[in-house]
């Protein structure tokens, strides 16, 4: 009886020690789910989800504080990917949150007064310029987040949809007649 007890206690102590050791040794830094969610998000950093950037939104989703359908730039495919990743149901976009066509900001250089407000607003440093100097958008880096539109005091920034050209042209889904049943 005593020996059985001692054996059980011994085993539990050993296993406890192993578990305790591995909890320290193999500790996972941060929440790996956040990284996975962040990888799905389009990184426009636009804040349309109500969070200040893609990472905070990913963190909120991981904590279960935010819905998965708050990211219009990610499109429906983004929602589907998030639903797959998190094992939840697909949710359509809410009212007024439909995704728009991809666009880049454009500064009308005639109107720009060089106030630098848009430069401070740009989340990806895609605006070049200095105080009282003309500003311009580095189109290749612009994510189309529209955060520069609101602070501009002279409304000289507009969003130009990205036109299809030979470099970004895609083959269309084949639309072929299927023979009608006779």
């Amino acid at each position: 009886m005593i020996s059985a007890l001692l054996v059980m206690v011994g085993i539990s102590l050993l296993l406890g020690a192993v578990l305790g050791y591995s909890a320290i040794k193999f500790k996972v830094e941060g929440n790996p789910l956040v990284e996975k969610i962040d990888a799905v998000l389009p990184q426009t950093q636009c804040g349309q989800c109500g969070f200040p950037g893609c990472k905070p939104y990913a963190e909120a989703i991981a904590k279960g504080e935010a819905d998965i359908n708050k990211c219009p730039p990610g499109g429906e495919e983004g929602i589907r990917k998030l639903a797959d990743l998190l094992g939840v149901e697909y949710k359509p976009f809410g009212e007024g949150a439909a995704p728009k066509a991809k666009a880049v900001a454009f500064i009308d250089e005639q109107t720009c007064i060089g106030c630098t407000l848009c430069i401070q607003a740009c989340p990806v440093d895609a605006i070049a310029g200095a105080a009282k100097q003309m500003h311009t958008i580095i189109a290749a880096e612009c994510t189309g987040c529209e955060l520069c539109l609101a602070p501009c005091p002279v409304d000289c920034i507009s969003m130009l949809p990205i036109a299809e050209d030979i470099t970004n042209w895609k083959w269309r889904y084949p639309l072929i007649p299927i023979q009608a049943a006779a």
Binding site: Q45, D125, W171, I178
Partner: protein
């Protein structure tokens, strides 16, 4: 006799080659204008280096290569640049791209040019000359040749010259080999030297006996060593690079592996020809041989200046009235051109004039019955029926698992499909969707990095500012302490930063007041007595108003100090 190997699958479509091989290559007439596209090659679009209205000479560079993966574009004849703008180009998208429009002056006046001795010139210089001459692969892929003719990354043992020309209707390489075999072989020798390859194998399908004979004669006449002309069995798509490598060497190039890693490099025969013209004669790539066939009165091969409008070219072959569309390339892999105004490019090996009689509209597609005839025909040993299934369902991850990117889009699967499903269209769709996603993922990665760096920078700036401020305050405190030690003041020398700040504010206020008191209005120096009287009167009135304001303020307004 060399042992030949077989690749998997393949089909035997009707060749339709004899129509266009009856007459020798004709020089196409000088067109009324040339629409030269600046993006005729794989990689970055060339940058225009001429102005509208400028007169250019034949062979003058009009587009400069941009970046490593790019190629130069030249004026195909002498004339005047009439426009640099967006025009429809020979591309399956039907979208416009930047083109230089040239009005020929009819003189065909060459720019000064001369060749080099290819055996004496350093290889790096030869590659540079190829880049300057705008030489790209003329088999259809239009990949810059200078990048391919480089043996720095892998040891190349075998150079294969592709003269298979397996696709129906196309005969431009056939006619080139028949008529200009010596230059092709010389070009092959240069490429071999550049690649330091041990042997050169020239693979030609055995339905072109004249070309095989001409090439063999050229090798013998030129006393070239280590070059072998080999007739390979006619089986579509033996002209695919991986397929021809398999036939000639037995090497199977694995999925995701380049043939150079296996010691084999492949060039088209027309590319070898242009390499020779560019190096030995200093002639940039200005023209190419184009087969014009299909619904025409006399199908023929033409030597065509790049940029020649399609309409003007097909008219010379007698394009018939009932032509419904123009196909660039062959019937298996070719693409429909958006308009008859597009200019011939370096990729245009063949123009097929299509009519409803010649190419009847495909019957409606039936459901896939999973007969796997496509899998039997597939030269890349894929499972086309699975790829079709996944591409149709937009399950792109699965298409990649089934090696979609090993598909060469040869169309053998669609050719044998009993349900007439346009399989290749699905694969092209899936490929471009995957590329699009890859581009987006890359852009997202860049945006994430830039955003994170920005956050880091803002945080760092904040810290630096706070540190600077703290430093200044420490200095001010030290200064105040020193002053306090020298002159006793009622202030505590070890005052908290708040007190020091208040002290500084008070000092500043006192300074400003002193300055204001010292300052005299500048326009009061020289005044007439009359003006002085006026000023005095106004001052008296002001004093009175101040007095009244002070009285009423005391009555119904709280003191100013309590407001803030």
């Amino acid at each position: 006799m060399r042992t030949l190997f077989q690749f998997h699958g393949g089909v035997h479509p009707p060749t339709h080659k004899t129509e266009s091989t009856r007459t020798p290559i004709a020089q196409a007439a000088l067109p009324s204008k040339l629409v030269v596209a600046l993006h005729q090659h794989v990689g970055n679009r060339a940058k225009p280096v001429v102005q509208v209205g400028e007169r250019v000479l034949k062979g003058q560079k009009i587009g400069r290569p941009e970046g490593k993966l790019s190629s130069a574009v030249h004026a195909p004849t002498s004339g005047t640049v009439s426009a640099i703008d967006m025009q429809l180009v020979a591309h399956q998208s039907g979208l416009p791209d930047l083109c230089i429009t040239l009005i020929p002056d009819g003189k065909d006046e060459w720019i000064a040019h001369s060749g080099v001795d290819t055996t004496q010139t350093p290889h790096s210089d030869l590659r540079h000359l190829l880049r300057k001459a705008g030489v790209v692969g003329l088999g259809g892929a239009v990949f810059p040749s200078d990048l391919k003719a480089d043996a720095h990354h892998h040891k190349i043992t075998t150079l294969i010259l592709n003269g298979a020309e397996c696709e129906p209707y196309i005969t431009c390489d056939d006619m080139l080999m028949r008529e200009r075999a010596a230059d092709i072989v010389s070009g092959a020798q240069v490429l071999r030297a550049l690649l330091q390859a041990e042997e050169v194998l020239i693979g030609i399908e055995d339905n072109k006996p004249e070309a095989v004979a001409a090439m063999q004669r050229a090798v013998q006449d030129g006393k070239h060593q280590g070059i072998e002309v080999i007739a390979v069995p006619t089986l579509y798509p033996s002209g695919g690079a991986k397929q021809l490598i398999r036939i000639l060497t037995g090497i199977e190039v694995a999925a995701g592996v380049r043939s150079t890693e296996m010691g084999v490099q492949c060039f088209n025969v027309a590319t070898a020809y242009s390499v020779w013209r560019a190096l030995a004669h200093g002639e940039p790539l200005l023209s190419r041989i184009v087969t014009v066939t299909g619904n025409v009165d006399h199908a023929q091969n033409f030597e065509v200046l790049l940029g020649t409008p399609l309409n003007e070219l097909v008219a010379q072959a007698g394009s018939r009235a009932d032509t419904s569309k123009h196909i660039m390339g062959g019937p298996m892999m070719g693409v429909d051109l958006p308009s008859g105004t597009v200019g011939i490019t370096k990729a245009t090996n063949c123009i097929i004039e299509a009519s409803p009689a010649l190419f009847p509209p495909p019957p409606p597609a039936l459901p896939c019955i999973r007969c796997t005839r496509c899998a039997e025909a597939c030269p890349a040993e894929l499972q086309p029926q699975e790829l079709y299934w996944f591409a149709k369902a937009r399950d792109f991850g699965k298409t990649q698992e089934y090696s979609l990117f090993d598909c060469i889009e040869c169309g053998a699967c669609a050719y044998v499909c009993p349900s007439q499903i346009p399989l290749v269209q699905y694969y092209r769709f899936a490929k471009s969707e995957i590329w699009q996603r890859e581009r987006e993922a890359q852009a997202a990665e860049v945006a994430r990095a830039r955003h994170e760096y920005r956050q880091l920078r803002i945080e760092r700036d904040k810290q630096e500012k706070a540190e600077k401020l703290a430093q200044k305050e420490r200095e001010a405190a030290a200064k105040a302490a020193a002053q306090a030690a020298a002159v006793p003041t009622p202030l505590d020398p070890l005052a908290a930063p708040d007190d020091t700040q208040q002290l500084r504010i008070n000092e500043a206020i006192a300074r400003a007041k002193a300055q204001a008191a010292a300052a005299q209005p500048k326009n009061t120096d020289t005044l007439t007595p009359q003006q002085q009287a006026e000023v005095a009167e106004i001052e008296a009135r002001r004093a009175k108003i101040r007095e009244m304001a002070a009285d009423s303020g005391a009555d119904d307004e709280p003191p100013k100090s309590n407001q803030g």
